[in-house]
C-alpha cells in the first residue's frame, strides 16, 4: 500500500473573504522595509526572530565561555592569582547566569521559534508581535544583567543567590540589583514566549496533525513552555521579594526581623528545578528528531518518549528540595524528596532506552548532527547516573556543594543540553540558511568538544569525591592529597580540558564563517528528513508553505517520500522532496496574509531596561520608562496585527498573488 498521500488542494472557495480592512490607528506608520536592518529590527517573522535569538544566544555563549575559561585558569594551580576573590565570585555567578538564562534558554527559544511553526505546518506563531517583543525583552534583560560589570561589579552571590548573602549588607554593590532586575526582564520574555508557543501548538496545527502526530521536538517544546509558564512566576515572586528588600527596605530575608532564609531557597528551587528540565528537554527534542532521520527509522516508542517527557514535566515540580538536602529540612521531607527524585530517573531512563532502540537495527549515517546526538545520549547517561547517586540523600550530603555536583550538571547541561543544541545546528543549518555546515569541520568540532568536555568535567568527579567544595576562588595544596592522581593533578587536567573545549567551540565558529562565505547551496532535503519543516524551500519563504499540508502520519514527509511494497515489504522511494515541494507550489494558496512588521514590540521592550536602570539609580528615569510602556501598549493595542489589504502591492484582494509584500 502506498503511503504517499496527496495533499488536498485548498480551493479558493474554501477561503473566507478577506475582512474589511481597518485603518491603522497606531501613532506610527508601519515599518515596511523588506531588506536591510529595518527588516530585521521590526520584523515579526518567527524565522527571522529565531535567527536573531540564535545570534544573541551565541554571543552570550561566547561571553559565558570566556568567563568559564577564566575560572579554570584561576583554578589551574593552587592559590591562583588570575582573579581576586571578589572578581572570581562575580565570575562564577555570571558564568552560570549567562549560560542558563542567556545562552541555553534563548538558544532553545531560537529553535522553538524557528521550527515549531514549521513542524506543525503553520505560517507563523499565534502572536507574532509578542514574539518580537519577547526577543527584544530578552536582549534588554541580557544587557541589564551584564551592564553590572561596568557599574561597580556584577552580582556575586552565585546564580542561586541564597539569602541572606544576597542582601544589601552582604552584597553592597549594585550587582545583585542589576541581576535581579535583568532576570525579571528575561522572565517576561520567557513568559510571553511560553504563552505564544503553547497557543501556536495547541491552535495552529495543520489539518490532520493530531497531538500524537506532532514531531517530538514540538512535543517537548510544548512541555518546556508549560514548565516556563508556571515556573517563571515563582522566580518572579522571589526576585520581587529580593528587589524590594534591597531597594525599599522590606524585611523578607532579614533574619534579625525573624525572616527565614530558607524561604528564598524554596522559591528559587521551585523555579530552579523545573528550570533544569526547561534547559534539557529542548535538546532531548532535537536529538529525538536527529536520531530517527540518520537511522532511517521512526523514533522508537514515540508515545513513551512523549509521555515520559510530560511525566518529567510533572514530577519535576515535586523534587525541588533535593537541592536542599543539607539545608536542615528534617528527615521526613528529605526522605520524601529523595524518593521523588529517584522516581524522576525512571522517565529519563525510558528516554535513553528509546534512543538506543531507535538506532538499534537502523541504517546509521554518521553525520556531524548524528555525532552530537549520540554524544548526548552517552554523556547525558553519565550525568544521569551521577544524578542518581545524589538522589540518595545521605550520599548527597557528602557530595552536594562539591565539584562532584559541578561534574554532574555539566555532564547533564554541557553533554546534554549543549550537545543537543549543536546537533540542532548541524541538522537544521541547511534549512535555515540553505547551506550546509562543513561536515568534516563538524566532526572535528565534535571530537574536540567531546575530548575537551570529558577532560574538563570528568576530573571534577574525582575532585569532588576527594572533597573539594565548589565556588572556591582558590584551593590549597594542603587539602589536595598525596600521590600523582591527587586533586592538584585533576584540577590541572580540567583546566587544560577547558582550553580544548574552547577550541572546539572556536572550530564551530570557523565552520559557520566558512559556510557563510561558501557559495555551495544545500540540496532541498540533504538528510532525507521526516518532518514537515523539510517540506518547503530552504530557507523557507516568509509564509513557510505555499499550501498548508494536510497531515496523515507521524513523520508525514517521510511517508510522502517512501512506500512499502505490499509483497516484499521493501521500503522504496516513491517521490523526491523536489516533487513534493513542486506539487505544493502548484497548489499554492491564493491569499496568504502575513502579519506585518511593527515598531511597538521593540519600543515596549526597550522601555523595560530603562525602568530597571531607573529603579537602581533614579526613580524619575523609571517613571519615564513606565510612561513609554503605557504609551507603547496603547499604540500596540490600536494597531491591527495585519496591515490592511490596501497597504499591499498588489492589493490583497487581487487575483493570483502568492506572497504579499507591504508597500515600499
Amino acid at each position: 500500500m502506498a503511503i504517499i498521500e496527496r495533499p488536498t488542494p485548498v480551493t479558493e472557495a474554501a477561503l473566507p473573504a478577506p475582512a474589511t480592512p481597518t485603518r491603522t490607528f497606531g501613532a506610527l506608520r508601519r515599518p515596511v522595509a523588506t531588506t536591510g536592518w529595518k527588516s530585521w529590527v521590526f520584523t515579526v517573522d518567527h524565522k527571522k526572530l529565531g535567527i536573531m535569538y540564535g545570534v544573541v544566544a551565541m554571543f552570550f555563549f561566547i561571553v559565558g565561555g570566556i568567563e568559564a575559561v577564566l575560572i579554570r585558569l584561576q583554578l589551574a594551580a593552587p592559590d591562583g592569582k588570575v582573579l581576586s576573590a571578589d572578581v572570581y565570585n562575580q565570575m562564577f555567578t555570571m558564568h552560570a547566569t549567562t549560560m542558563v538564562f542567556l545562552f541555553v534558554m534563548p538558544m532553545a527559544a531560537a529553535f522553538a521559534n524557528y521550527f515549531v511553526p514549521l513542524q506543525i505546518g503553520a505560517r507563523d506563531v499565534a502572536f507574532p508581535r509578542i514574539n518580537a517583543f519577547g526577543f527584544w525583552t530578552l536582549v534588554g534583560g541580557g544587557i541589564i544583567v551584564n551592564l553590572s560589570w561596568f557599574f561597580g561589579g556584577a552580582a556575586d552571590g552565585g546564580w542561586f543567590m541564597y539569602a541572606p548573602n544576597s542582601g544589601p549588607v552582604f552584597s553592597p554593590s549594585n550587582g545583585v540589583d542589576f541581576w535581579a532586575l535583568g532576570l525579571q526582564i528575561t522572565g517576561i520574555a520567557s513568559l510571553t514566549g511560553a504563552i505564544n508557543l503553547i497557543v501556536t501548538v495547541l491552535n495552529m496545527r495543520a489539518p490532520g496533525m493530531s497531538l500524537m502526530k506532532m514531531p517530538v521536538f514540538t512535543w517537548l517544546q510544548l512541555v518546556v513552555q508549560f514548565l516556563l509558564l508556571f515556573a517563571v512566576p515563582v522566580i518572579t515572586v522571589a526576585l520581587f521579594l529580593l528587589s524590594f528588600q534591597r531597594n525599599f527596605g522590606a524585611t523578607f530575608f532579614d533574619v534579625s526581623a525573624g525572616a527565614d532564609p530558607l524561604l528564598w531557597q524554596h522559591l528559587f528551587w521551585i523555579f530552579g528545578h523545573p528550570e533544569v528540565y526547561i534547559l534539557i528537554l529542548p535538546s532531548f527534542g532535537i536529538i529525538s528528531e536527529v536520531l530517527p532521520v540518520f537511522s532511517k527509522k521512526p523514533l522508537f516508542g514515540y508515545p513513551f518518549v512523549v509521555f515520559s517527557g510530560a511525566a518529567i514535566g510533572f514530577v519535576g515540580w515535586g523534587v525541588w528540595a533535593h537541592h536542599m538536602f543539607a539545608s536542615g529540612l528534617g528527615p521526613v521531607s528529605v526522605a520524601v524528596f529523595s524518593i521523588a527524585t529517584m522516581a524522576i530517573a525512571i522517565p529519563t531512563g525510558v528516554k535513553i532506552v528509546n534512543w538506543t532502540m531507535t538506532i538499534w537495527g537502523g541504517k546509521l549515517n554518521f553525520t556531524a548532527a548524528m555525532h552530537f546526538a549520540i554524544g548526548l545520549v552517552v554523556l547525558f547517561t553519565i550525568g544521569g547516573l551521577s544524578g542518581v547517586t545524589h538522589a540518595v540523600a545521605p550520599s548527597d550530603t557528602q557530595q552536594t556543594d562539591t565539584y562532584y555536583i559541578v561534574a554532574h550538571f555539566h555532564y547533564v547541561l554541557f553533554g546534554g543540553a549543549i550537545f543537543g543544541l549543536f546537533s540542532g545546528f548541524y541538522y537544521w543549518w541547511p534549512k535555515m540558511f540553505g547551506k550546509q555546515l562543513n561536515e568534516r569541520l563538524g566532526k572535528a568540532n565534535f571530537w574536540l568538544m567531546v575530548i575537551g568536555m570529558n577532560m574538563t568535567f570528568g576530573p571534577m568527579h574525582m575532585i569532588g569525591l576527594q572533597g573539594q567544595p565548589r565556588r572556591m576562588y582558590v584551593w590549597t595544596e594542603a587539602r589536595a592529597g598525596e600521590g600523582f592522581f591527587n586533586i592538584a593533578f585533576w584540577n590541572r587536567v580540567a583546566s587544560i580540558g577547558s582550553i580544548i573545549l574552547a577550541f572546539g567551540v572556536l572550530l564551530f565558529l570557523i565552520n559557520v564563517w566558512k559556510t557563510a562565505r561558501s557559495k555551495q547551496v544545500a540540496p532541498l532535503d540533504p538528510w532525507d528528513a521526516r518532518t514537515l519543516e523539510w517540506m518547503t524551500t530552504s530557507p523557507p519563504k516568509e509564509h513557510n508553505f505555499d499550501a498548508i499540508p494536510t497531515v496523515h502520519h507521524l513523520d508525514e514527509f517521510f511517508h510522502r517520500k517512501y512506500a512499502q511494497d505490499p509483497v516484499t515489504h521493501e521500503i522504496k522511494q516513491v517521490a523526491t522532496a523536489e516533487d513534493i515541494v513542486r506539487e505544493q507550489e502548484a497548489n499554492a494558496d491564493k491569499h496568504i496574509h502575513m502579519p506585518s512588521p511593527s515598531y511597538w514590540p521593540i519600543i515596549l521592550a526597550g522601555a523595560l531596561p530603562i525602568i530597571a536602570l531607573g529603579l537602581i539609580y533614579a526613580i524619575p528615569v523609571a517613571i519615564v520608562g513606565g510612561a513609554i510602556v503605557v504609551l507603547a501598549m496603547y499604540g500596540w493595542s490600536l494597531e491591527p496585527s495585519t496591515a490592511p489589504d490596501t497597504d499591499f502591492d498588489p492589493p490583497a484582494s487581487g487575483e493570483g498573488t502568492k506572497e504579499l509584500a507591504p508597500l515600499g
Binding site: Y162, Q468, M472
Partner: protein, 411 residues
Amino acid sequence: MIRHSNQRSGVRMSKSVRRIVATAAGLSAVAFLAGCASNAPQDTWQPKGPNAQKIDDLQKPVFAIAGVVGIIVFAAIAYAVFRFKDRGQPIPEQTHGKPVLEIGMTILPALILAGIGVFTFQTIFDLAKTDDTEMVINVTGQQWWWEYDYPVQEQYGITDPIITSGQLVIPTGTKVLLRETSRDVIHSYWIPALNGKRDAVPGRVHYLRLEADEPGIYAGQCTEFCGLSHAVMRMEAVALDKDDFAAWVKGQLSLAASPAEGTLAKEGESVFLNQCVRCHQVNGLKKADGSPAIAAPEDNVWSGAAPNLTHLMSRNTFAGASWDLLTKECRKDVWGASSEEFGAKYLTGVTEECLNQTDLRRWLRNAPAMKPMYADPTKLEPTDGKYRGMPNLGLTEDDIDKLVAYLATLK
C-alpha cells in the same frame, strides 16, 4: 525481517558486549582506584566514624549499580553504532516500538530504584537520630570562621563553658551532637570523614551528629557559599581519646597568665590590650588597672563575634583554620601521627620551634591582604561602620615582634 536480524545480533552481541564490558569495567576501576589513592584529607570515601560509615555503606553499592547500568547502556550504544552503520543495507522496517519492552524497561529501573529507596529511607532516619546523644557542642558560623561553644557538661569535666574556634575537639567513641547556627549568612559544616554536611542557617538551629572511631585530625571545609572568603573558611575536627580529651578540657578551662614583667611578651600584652582586645577575648587578661579586659566584638564586627584567643597555641591553626600555626614539618608530624601517639602530640600544642612565624606575622601585618575581607574602613557604610573580618591594624614591625611573643604564651 527486522526481528530476524535482531535475533542474529543478539547472539553475536553477547561476546563483543562482554569484551566491551570487561574493558570498560577495567578502565573505570583503574580510574577510580587512581582517584582514591591520593589520600586527600577531605576524601568522601574514607569514613572514620559510624555516621560517615553509614553513608559510605549506602553510597558504594549505589555507585556500583550506577556503574553497571552505565556500562550496559554504553555497550548497547557502542554495539549499535558499530553494527548498524549504513553499509548499504535496506531501509529498515518503520517500526514504532515494542510496548512490552518499553514497559519492562520502565519497571526494571523502578524496581532497582525502589530497592535503593528502602535503604536510603533507613539511612536518612538513622542519621537524623538525636536521642542517643552523649555530648552537645554549639557550633556557630560567621564570615569566615567557626566558633565552638561547649556548654557545661560535668561528666566530661566541662564545668564552665568552653569557647574556642578553628578546631573542634571531640572525644572518640562519643556520640557528639552539633547544634549549628550562624551569625550572618548561611554556612555549612562538613567533616567528610565523620559525616555529611549540614547548613548553619541564621535564625535556625540544625543538628549534625559526629562520632570518631580513632584519635586523629579530620579536615573539613565550609560548603555553602558564604561570600568573599568562602574558599578559605576551613575547619578541622580533632578526636582525642577520653583521657586526652579530659586533659584538653582542663587546659581550656584555665585562664591565661600574664607574662613575666620585662619580657617581650609582656610588652606584647599591652599591644594586645591596645589593639586586639577590642574584638578578641583572652580569658584572664587584665587591664593595667587590674580590671578584667572584656572584648566588645559586637561594637566592631558585623557578626558580633571574633575568635577567643585564650588558648590560641593549643590549636594548630588560625584565622578560621585558613592557615597553620604549625610549621610544615611539625604539622606533618601531628597529622601523620599514629592513633596512639596522636593525643600526646596534639596536646603539646604549638611550641616555640614549631610556630609558623611567617604566616602569623604576615597576618598581623595586613590580615585582609591574606584573606579577602570587608575590612576597608572607608567602605563600611552598609554595615553601619562595622567590619566583616579583621582590618589591617597598621602595626609596626616592632609591635608585631611583641605581639607574636605574647600570642606564643597563650597555650
